[in-house]
Amino acid sequence: MNMSMDKILVSPNPHIHSATTTKVLMRDVVIALLPAVIVSVVVDGWKEMLVLAVSVLSCMALEYLITRYCFKKASTLGDWSAAVTGVLLALNLPPTTPWWVVFLGAVFAIGVAKMTFGGLGQNIFNPALVGRVFLLISFPTYMTHWEIPQGLFGVDAISGATPLGAIKEGLMQGATVPDLMASHGYTYSQMLFANIGGSAGEACAIAILVGFIYLVARKVIKPWITLSILGTVAAVSCIFWLANPAQFTDPLFNLLTGGLLLGSCFMATDYVTSPMSTKGGIIFGIGIGFITLMIRYFGSYPEGVSFAILIMNSTVPLLNNWFHQKKYGRA
């Protein structure tokens, strides 16, 4: 009955650990992304499946090879973080992206944005976004070539522009927003339920919100960053729209189009590249929302969420330095 003393474990307190580990957290993010993945596959068909497969597999393969053979450490594949990057990257690309472009994006995301900084937890910028922006700048033709979704079993794809792109182009040619909305036939219910051209993950607002609610309910993330981004976008675009409805798009349009929901729910809330404190997170979100709108309204790109998040990523160390938790018994 007596245990031999050489087996006795001794360690400082605490002696138990919560069941939440990095692996569990990352797996929850993948689960939260599933609705968006399923919708995008159903809507965009086998092409999207190919993009997803190439992106996820190449991200995971790169993570394994680099940690194993460059860092000469145990592989960090088991923590699911590479899978998260892979899924997010795929959801940020048009379904028509050739496989080798997707692969290059993965190389840049994992190899450059993540591993050169030292791997998980060390990177300054969100890897998936860095991958996307790298592709956007290097291969603009592939990255701005959108298709009007024809469904999983659709045959002929029709080329078109995203709502944001179409409006921007129209405005540059001197048209007004209401005319453009009417001529393209955009409706908000369309945007909510995914049949608007765009990156795979940008299409369905409902699917993304379901994932977001899951993450908040599981206490994986806190909602403040997302809410402050969406709030800022709504508030600022409301001001512009009220001032000149012919020149500026309305708040609901801005909330539902482009990568705003995907970006604010899944990219801006990335642990590693967002501030630690709630206060810092809110400032971070306001910054993202504001920069996004400025790029949309005044920039040369139709969409600005990726750039906005990356710009605000660079302020995170500063925000962490400025904003701290409220400490017990200290003013």
Binding site: D6, K7, S11
Partner: protein
Amino acid sequence: MTTTIIWTIAIISGLGLLLALTLYLVAQRFKVVEDPRIELVEKAMPGANCGGCGFAGCHAFADSAVKAPNLDNHYCPVGGNETMKKVAEILGYEIKEKAPMVAVVRCNGTCDARPRTSEYDGSISCKVKASLYAGDTGCSFGCLGCGDCVAACKFGALSMNPQTGLPVVDEEKCTACGACVKACPKAIIELRKKGPRGMREYVCCVNKDKGPSVKKACANACIGCGICSKTCTHDAIVLENNVAYIDFEKCKLCRECEAMCPTGAIHGVNFPKPIDKDAIKARVQERQKKAREAAAAAARQAQEPEQIKKEESNG
């Protein structure tokens, strides 16, 4: 065309001059006047910034040395006497030469000799482990084996031996800066005189417990029996708190204690010949026998004159 070129040249040159002037003025304004000898002394230093001298780095040492009235409180253990000679030359001071020192690990509780009694599951840090408990063996004084000393060494002179679980000092690389001594929470590492051609004797144990419990915990420990201090003819060994200590200033490297030690806790290193324990033992026993006889004879003789003395004082 020409005017454009002339204007360009003029503006660039003007800008260059203006910036040069600004830089010059700023440099003048914020110039730090420093004793030039500080730089000279610093150049003579090894430049490791290890802090072994007690100052924050080589510059702090140089600064303090230049201002000091003599070099009694300044000694660079890394550069040793040679560096200090150079420093003294620059400053025109005398120095007292010091014997070169080396870090010595005074624990021989190898994995074989010191059975593990528990499994440590905390941070791999001797400091954390020491603040938690006595250690994962029966010995509460010995090496904890987490390698804080290895991490503290800036010269790569320390490494853990995976076979024994103990740190090993590379004498060639050790500069006796003392960083490991400070890092060890169990005060096992000591700076000792390097000795002639590196030869030295030391007690490789710091266990202060009483004999029986020490013996149970570790086969290589000093059990505080005191045979060594009785053997030593140079008065170099003290026995305090159940553990022997050899004073390296007094030790004459005769190796008698090493031969007599029943547990092998006394180590002699860098001797050219292996120790012949039996021969030394025989020699020591012979000497002790003679001493006992002489003492007995002296005691007998002493009794008689004492009686006479007593009678004298009484009378």
